[in-house]
């Protein structure tokens, strides 16, 4: 490395407004994260369309066992067939109908439950706050997959039970986040003046606080869709979610272990999971950049766009 004896102003404050506009890091970050976010959004939209139109675009019935068994990809079918003579491509496409709606439902429900609990705890404080936060502590005392696994096992193996188990472990992070945000805003002047004007707590929460805390919650939610998909397919992989013959990605990967030579049985459902989770994570990351500039720029002097 060459020694650099002189410190320039650029190094001391890289976000300095004296820099030409095109050299400001914020602009460069935007240039990089936006395309990733857009690419992610495109992939996600394609998968959602697949989930909607799967019955039309599937080349075969995903449950019909009427093809030659264990055909490698490219020999009659695009992605091969499984040990029961079912078309892998059709099953992967049809898997989108299971995983995507359920994980979106899971995230929406977690946000609703978590946000309501967190907002109530943060706004009213006192014993309500204490009780709710101890419950979140308790849930968060377990690693998520483990607790979800334990709950799903005691509820009995089914997809809906897996969603329920995942819901029980997912809401606390939203409760924590919302509570923190509400606490921060509760004593701000505009909220207090609303209260002095006679706003009811509900109106104050809804009109004054909710619009201002939506951004961070949305970012967390968008990053959580990927986690939800991984959690649900993981539970199915463990045999605690979808039941055969349902075409579900996690259980398809689990079934592939039985026929190790037929690599296409496990590879394609896994790629499906990977592609959609990456897509949602890119979207979430770009959203965070857009809504929370602090996360990627220096705090002091950073342009606030």
């Amino acid at each position: 490395m060459t020694p650099r004896p002189v410190i320039t102003t650029d190094e001391l404050d890289p976000t300095d407004a004296k820099r030409p506009r095109w050299r400001r890091p914020r602009v460069r970050l935007g240039r990089w994260s936006a395309p990733l976010g857009i690419a992610g959004a495109l992939v996600a939209v394609v998968w959602i369309l697949v989930a909607i139109f799967a019955p039309i675009i599937e080349p075969h019935d995903p449950l019909a066992q009427n093809l030659a068994i264990l055909q490698p990809p490219g020999q009659g079918t695009l992605l091969g067939t499984d040990e029961l003579g079912r078309d892998v491509l059709s099953r992967v496409l049809s898997g989108a109908r299971v995983t995507i709606p359920l994980s979106l439902l899971l995230v929406v429900l977690s946000v609703l439950i978590g946000a309501v609990i967190g907002a109530v705890a943060g706004f009213f404080g006192g014993w309500v706050d204490e009780l709710m936060m101890r419950i979140t502590d308790l849930v968060m005392a377990f690693p998520t997959v483990i607790l979800a696994m334990v709950i799903a096992a005691s509820l009995g193996a089914s997809l809906l039970n897996a969603v329920l188990a995942a819901l029980i472990v997912s809401w606390p992070s939203y409760a924590r986040l919302t509570r923190g945000l509400v606490l921060g805003l509760r004593s701000s002047n505009y909220v207090i003046s609303g209260r002095l004007l006679g706003f009811s707590p509900l109106r104050s929460l809804w009109r004054d606080i909710a619009p201002n805390i939506l951004g961070p919650i949305l970012v967390l939610a968008s990053l959580d869709i990927g986690t939800a998909i991984l959690l649900l397919s993981g539970l199915s992989f463990l045999g605690l979610g979808a039941k055969p013959p349902t075409a579900e990605w996690g259980s398809m990967v689990a079934d592939a272990v039985q026929n190790f030579d037929a690599w296409w049985l496990g590879v394609f459902p896994g790629l499906a999971i990977l592609s959609i989770v990456v897509a949602f994570n890119f979207v979430g990351d770009a959203l965070r950049d857009a809504l929370d500039p602090k996360a990627n720029t220096l705090r002091r002097g950073g342009p606030t766009l």
Binding site: M1, P5, I7, E11, L12, P14, P25, R28, W32, S33, L36, R134, D137, L138, A141, F142, P143, T144, V145, I146, L147, M149, V150, I151, A152, A153, S154, L155, G156, A157, G226, L230, S233, G234, F237, L238, G239, L240, G250, V253, A254, A256, V257, F260, W263, G266, V267, P269, G270, I273, L274, V277, V278, N281, F282, D285, A295, L298, R299, R300
Partner: protein
């Protein structure tokens, strides 16, 4: 400075010598008590879940025919305390836990506690390997990304770490196993040792360490080669998490006056990174190591089952897929307590590293 050896009277200690030790002890005590309360909470969760099971425990244990005989059912209920109120049952359950009794697995018919005791070292071996590796790699990559902020390196690392977080662990494990073992024959097969090796005499239960104690170098090498793939899969996942957190933490510190001053007075980058930046960033990094340990434990459940690694993850998988509730609850309890313990250690280290933490509370 006053030597703490000769304890000054109480009033004086508040002003001078005791100040260093006292707040930390108080802080530590508070954290230990909170953790103990959470452990009790964890037992409550597993107890409630065990009792939530749809289905008749008598039928599950004795079979349908025996359960239909009221005399047998009543005796079974009395014998196992099932006729007692739930509160009493909970305290019985707690008492059993304190005696190390986690129930009997309906799958292996062994006491769950002894099953878990046998499986734990295997899991610790990959978990420790993975956490050490991912902390090293994550800190290096995160620091590099922060220093190269906005440059190509930063963006490449960002994409890689996001992708690492997006890979389904169980699938990646299968793919690597297929490629490196089944196709290329580079990696050894599943399990902890190849079939022509015997387990080294048990001292710690970790084969790598035990084989070194026994002086069996070839066993050591075989154990390490078996560790490679499972540790790699678990590391890939946590590295993504760590890289992103370390990057943010380092960026925050680089913005602090003392880090600026260190750079401004011309200290070599290495000194600035080691003595200023990473020291300052150590607390947020510690937090995320604690959190990463949780996702690592979750990951072991999915990864071990693929590599037939005889740890608590495989045990959990077997128990879950056969709906062996005592087994599942035992694993949940063990991992919950381990996770709490790790986070307690993290919090205590905080207090040691950062006086503000113990003074604030």
């Amino acid at each position: 400075m006053i030597e703490p050896a000769a304890r000054p009277p109480r009033a004086a200690s508040a002003v001078r010598g005791g100040r260093a030790a006292h707040p930390f002890l108080r802080y530590a005590l508070r954290r230990v008590i909170t953790s103990l309360l959470l452990v009790i909470g964890v037992t409550l969760v597993t107890f409630v879940l065990t009792n939530l099971v749809p289905g008749d425990p008598v039928a599950a244990a004795l079979g349908q025919r025996a359960a239909e005989d009221p005399a047998i059912a009543a005796r079974f209920r009395a014998e196992y305390g099932l006729d007692q109120p739930l509160v009493v049952q909970y305290f019985t359950y707690l008492g059993n836990l304190l005696h190390g009794n986690l129930g009997v697995s309906t799958l292996t018919h062994n006491p769950v506690a002894s099953d878990l005791a046998q499986a734990l070292p295997a899991t610790l071996e990959i978990a420790i390997g993975a956490i050490v590796l991912s902390v090293i790699i994550g800190v290096v990559l995160g620091t590099v990304a922060a220093y190269r902020r906005g440059k190509v390196t930063d963006h490449v690392l960002r994409v890689v770490s996001l992708a690492g977080l997006s890979v389904p662990t169980f699938w990646l494990a299968l793919v690597l196993y297929y490629v490196f073992y089944y196709q290329l024959h580079i990696a050894p097969g599943s399990g902890r040792l190849s079939s022509d090796f015997n387990a080294p005499p048990t001292i710690t239960g970790l084969y790598t360490i035990d084989s070194l104690f026994a002086g069996q170098l070839d066993t050591f090498l075989d154990a390490v080669s078996h560790l490679f793939l499972p540790v790699l899969v678990l590391t890939l996942y946590t590295v993504g998490l760590l890289t992103r957190f370390v990057r943010t933490a380092v960026l925050e510190i680089l913005d602090q006056d003392y880090a600026r001053a260190a750079r401004a007075k011309g200290l070599p980058t290495r000194t600035v990174v080691w003595s200023y930046v990473l020291r300052g960033a150590s607390i947020p990094i510690l937090t995320v190591v604690g959190l990463a340990f949780g996702s690592l434990l979750s990951g072991t459940v999915l990864v071990e089952s693929v590599f037939a690694w005889p740890g608590i993850g495989s045990y959990a998988y077997q128990a879950a897929s056969h709906l062996d509730l005592p087994g599942v609850m035992g694993v949940g309890l063990l991992i919950g307590v381990m996770y709490l313990l790790v986070n307690l250690i993290v919090d205590l280290l905080y207090g040691l590293l950062d006086p503000r933490v113990r003074l604030a509370s």
